[in-house]
C-alpha cells in the first residue's frame, strides 16, 4: 500500500513539475508570438506605398520613412562590406594557418569577449576613432565602420567554427592530389564551410540592421530631406527614427501610427534576414553528407 501511495505521490510531483515547465516554455513562445502579432496588427494600419516611398513632412508628423529605409540600407551594406571580407579572411588564418597554442587560445578568448562588449561602447569607440580622430564626421562611413566592427567577432566566430567542422580528411585528400594549401582553401575548405559562414554572416548583418546605440553618435541624424550623395553624409536610419519619434518629438501621441509603421518595417527587415539564415542552416544540415 505505502509503495503504491508513494508511487502515486511521485507521479503527481512529476505531473506538477512538468506542467510548470510547459507553462514557462509556453509563456516564452506566447510572448514572442504576441509581440510579433501585435506589431503587425498595429503597423499594418500605417504602412502603405506612400509611407515607404515618401520623405517625412510637417515636422515629421506626416509622410513616410523613405530616407530612413535608404539610410539603413546603406549602413547595413557598408558594415557588411567591412565585416564579411575581413571576418572570413581572419577566420581562415585562425583555423587554417595559425598554430594551436596559448596565443591562439588567447586570441579566441579575446574574440569571444569582444562579441560581448556592449553596443553603446562601440558607439563611444566609433565616435572617438572614426568621427573625431580620423575626421570622418557623423557619416555613413563612420557608422558603417562602427557597425562593421561590432559584428566582426560574430562573423569571425561563426566562420572559424564552420571551417573547423570541415573534416581534415578533405584537406588531406586535396593536398595529396597535389593541390597547394591556397588551392585547398579556395576549392575545398571554403565551399564545404560556405553554408556555415553564410549563416553566421547573415545573422551578423541582421544585428547590424537593427542596432541603434552604435549609430546614435556616429551616423544617424534626426531629420534630413535629402538622400545621401556621399559616404561622408549623415543619414536617417530606421532604428534611430523609431527612437526619435517615440521619445523626443513634440507630437509623440500624434505620430504613434508612424512609429508602429516604422517598427513593422524594421522587424520585417530584421526577422526576414534571420529567417533566411535559419532556412539556409536547416537545408545545409539536411544536405550535409559527412
Amino acid at each position: 500500500m505505502t509503495g503504491a501511495a508513494s508511487r502515486r505521490y511521485r507521479m503527481m510531483t512529476e505531473r506538477v513539475a512538468f506542467g510548470i515547465i510547459r507553462l514557462l516554455a509556453g509563456l516564452v513562445v506566447i510572448t514572442l508570438g504576441g509581440i510579433v502579432l501585435f506589431l503587425i496588427y498595429q503597423g499594418a494600419r500605417a504602412v502603405n506605398w506612400s509611407f515607404l516611398t515618401e520623405a517625412p513632412r510637417d515636422a515629421m508628423t506626416k509622410g513616410g520613412i523613405f530616407p530612413a529605409i535608404i539610410g539603413t540600407f546603406y549602413l547595413t551594406i557598408g558594415s557588411s562590406l567591412i565585416a564579411l571580407p575581413l571576418g572570413v579572411a581572419s577566420a581562415i588564418y585562425l583555423s587554417e594557418y595559425a598554430r594551436e597554442g596559448w596565443l591562439l587560445k588567447l586570441i579566441r578568448l579575446g574574440i569571444q569577449n569582444w562579441a560581448g562588449v556592449p553596443s553603446v561602447v562601440f558607439g563611444l569607440y566609433g565616435l572617438a576613432l572614426f568621427v573625431v580622430f580620423l575626421g570622418f564626421g557623423v557619416s555613413i562611413l563612420a557608422g558603417s565602420l562602427t557597425l562593421g566592427f561590432l559584428i566582426l567577432p560574430t562573423v569571425i566566430g561563426a566562420s572559424e567554427e564552420a571551417f573547423r567542422q570541415v573534416p581534415s580528411t578533405f584537406r588531406e585528400a586535396s593536398l595529396a592530389l597535389g593541390a597547394t594549401k591556397f588551392q585547398t582553401i579556395c576549392r575545398v575548405v571554403l565551399p564545404s564551410a560556405l553554408p556555415g559562414v553564410l549563416t553566421g554572416s547573415i545573422l551578423g548583418i541582421g544585428r547590424a540592421a537593427g542596432e541603434t546605440a552604435p549609430i546614435m553618435f556616429t551616423a544617424a541624424t534626426f531629420y534630413t530631406k535629402h538622400l545621401p550623395t556621399s559616404p561622408l553624409d549623415q543619414v536617417m536610419a530606421l532604428p534611430y527614427h523609431i527612437y526619435v519619434l517615440a521619445t523626443s518629438g513634440t507630437h509623440i501621441d500624434q505620430t504613434r501610427p508612424l512609429q508602429y509603421g516604422t517598427v513593422l518595417v524594421l522587424i520585417s527587415l530584421v526577422l526576414g534576414i534571420n529567417i533566411f539564415a535559419i532556412i539556409i542552416r536547416t537545408r545545409m544540415r539536411r544536405k550535409k553528407t559527412w
Binding site: 512529476e14 513539475a17 512538468f18 515547465i21 510547459r22 507553462l23 514557462l24 516564452v28 513562445v29 509581440i35 510579433v36 575581413l86 579572411a89 581572419s90 581562415i92 588564418y93 594557418y97 586570441i107 579575446g110 574574440i111 569571444q112 569582444w114 560581448g116 556592449p118 553603446v120 561602447v121 562601440f122 558607439g123 563611444l124 569607440y125 572617438a128 576613432l129 580622430f133 566592427f149 566582426l152 569571425i156 584537406r171 593536398l175 597535389g178 594549401k181 591556397f182 582553401i185 541582421g206 537593427g210 542596432e211 541603434t212 546605440a213 546614435m216 553618435f217 532604428p239 523609431i242 517615440a246 521619445t247 504613434r256 517598427v263 524594421l266 530584421v270 526577422l271 534571420n274 529567417i275
Partner: protein
C-alpha cells in the same frame, strides 16, 4: 607540415615533366609558390587587422575616459551620489548610475532565469522533435528582435499598463525595464542552457531510469546537476547582455539619476546615461570624458561577467561520464 607538402609537390612536378614542358611547369610551380606566400600573408594581415581593431577599442575608450580622473578624483567619481554633469560647477558621481544598472540587471535575471531555463528544460526533455524545431526557431527570432523595438513596446505597452493597474506616478521604472530586459536575456539563457543539458551523458540518465527513478526525478537530480555549470554560464551571459543593453533602459527605465528606494522608482542605468547625454556633451570637455569613463566601467563590468562565464564553462566542463 602541410606547407612543405605543397613545396614537395612543386619539385616533383618539375622533375617528372620532361623536355619543353620543364620550363612551363617550373613557371607554373613558381606562380603557385608566389601565390602561396602572398595568400598566407594576406590572411595574416586580415587577422592582424581584426586584432588591431580590438585593441584600438580599448585604447580609445581608455584614452578618452581616463582623462576625467585628472579633474575629478576617483573616489568621488565612483562613490558620489550626485550626477549633475551640466550644472555649474558640475558634479560627476556615478554611484546612482551603477546602482541603476545593477538593479535592473538583477531584477531582470529573476524574471529571465526561470523562463529561460524552463524553456531549455522543455526543449531538451519534453518537446517532440517537430515542436522542438519550431520553439527553437521562435527563441532564436526573439533574440534577433532589435532592442529599440522592445524598448518601444516597453514604452507604449508595458509602462502605461503598469502605471494604470498599480496607480503609480510613472510606469517607466525598474520593474518595467527589467521585464523588457528579461525578454532580451531569455534567448541567450535558453540556447546555452539547452546545449549544456544536451551535453550530459545519456548513460547517466539511463542509469537513473534503470534504478526506477521517474523522469522528473532524473531531470531534477541527474540532468540539471550535470548541466549546472553550463546553466551558470548561460545565466551570467544573459545578465551581461542585460547590463550592456542600451535602448531598453534608455526608453523604459525612466532616466532619473537617483538611488532607488523601491522597485517602482525610475533609474538611470549607465548605458542610458551615455546614450542620452553624448549628443549634448561638448567634445573634449569634462562631461565628454566622464561619459567615456562610464563606458570603461560598463566595459569592465561586462568583461568580468564574460570572463567568469568562460572560466566556469571551461573549468567545470563535463568530459564524458567518468568525471561525474
Amino acid at each position: 607540415m602541410t606547407l612543405t607538402m605543397g613545396e614537395g609537390d612543386v619539385q616533383m612536378s618539375t622533375l617528372s615533366a620532361g623536355g619543353n614542358h620543364a620550363s612551363e611547369s617550373t613557371t607554373r610551380g613558381v606562380e603557385l609558390k608566389v601565390q602561396e606566400g602572398i595568400s598566407k600573408y594576406f590572411f595574416l594581415a586580415a587577422a592582424s587587422t581584426s586584432l588591431l581593431v580590438m585593441a584600438l577599442i580599448m585604447i580609445f575608450l581608455f584614452r578618452e575616459g581616463l582623462a576625467i580622473f585628472g579633474k575629478v578624483n576617483a573616489v568621488s567619481f565612483f562613490f558620489g551620489k550626485a550626477w549633475y554633469p551640466t550644472y555649474d560647477p558640475p558634479e560627476f558621481g556615478i554611484l546612482a548610475l551603477i546602482v541603476g544598472s545593477v538593479s535592473v540587471t538583477l531584477f531582470s535575471s529573476l524574471v529571465a532565469i526561470p523562463l529561460g531555463v524552463g524553456t531549455a528544460l522543455y526543449l531538451s526533455v519534453l518537446a517532440g522533435p517537430t515542436v522542438r524545431e519550431y520553439v527553437k526557431a521562435a527563441v532564436e527570432l526573439l533574440a534577433s528582435l532589435p532592442s529599440v523595438v522592445l524598448g518601444f513596446l516597453g514604452m507604449v505597452v508595458i509602462a502605461p499598463t503598469m502605471q494604470e493597474l498599480l496607480d503609480i506616478p510613472t510606469g517607466l521604472n525598474i520593474v518595467s525595464a527589467s521585464i523588457v530586459l528579461a525578454i532580451m536575456a531569455i534567448p541567450t539563457i535558453t540556447s546555452i542552457s539547452e546545449d549544456a543539458l544536451y551535453a550530459v551523458p545519456r548513460d547517466n540518465l539511463e542509469a537513473s531510469y534503470a534504478l526506477g527513478a521517474t523522469r522528473w526525478e532524473t531531470m531534477s537530480r541527474i540532468l540539471v546537476p550535470g548541466a549546472l555549470s553550463g546553466i551558470g554560464t548561460a545565466v551570467i551571459l544573459g545578465m551581461s547582455r542585460a547590463m550592456g543593453e542600451t535602448m531598453v533602459v534608455l526608453m523604459v527605465a525612466g532616466g532619473a539619476a537617483q538611488i532607488p528606494s523601491s522597485l517602482f522608482d525610475s533609474v538611470r542605468p549607465m548605458p542610458a546615461s551615455i546614450a542620452a547625454e553624448m549628443g549634448e556633451a561638448p567634445f573634449g570637455g569634462e562631461h565628454y570624458h566622464a561619459l567615456f569613463a562610464i563606458g570603461i566601467v560598463l566595459f569592465l563590468m561586462t568583461l568580468v561577467f564574460n570572463l567568469v562565464a568562460t572560466y566556469i564553462s571551461t573549468r567545470f566542463q563535463q568530459k564524458g561520464a567518468s568525471t561525474l
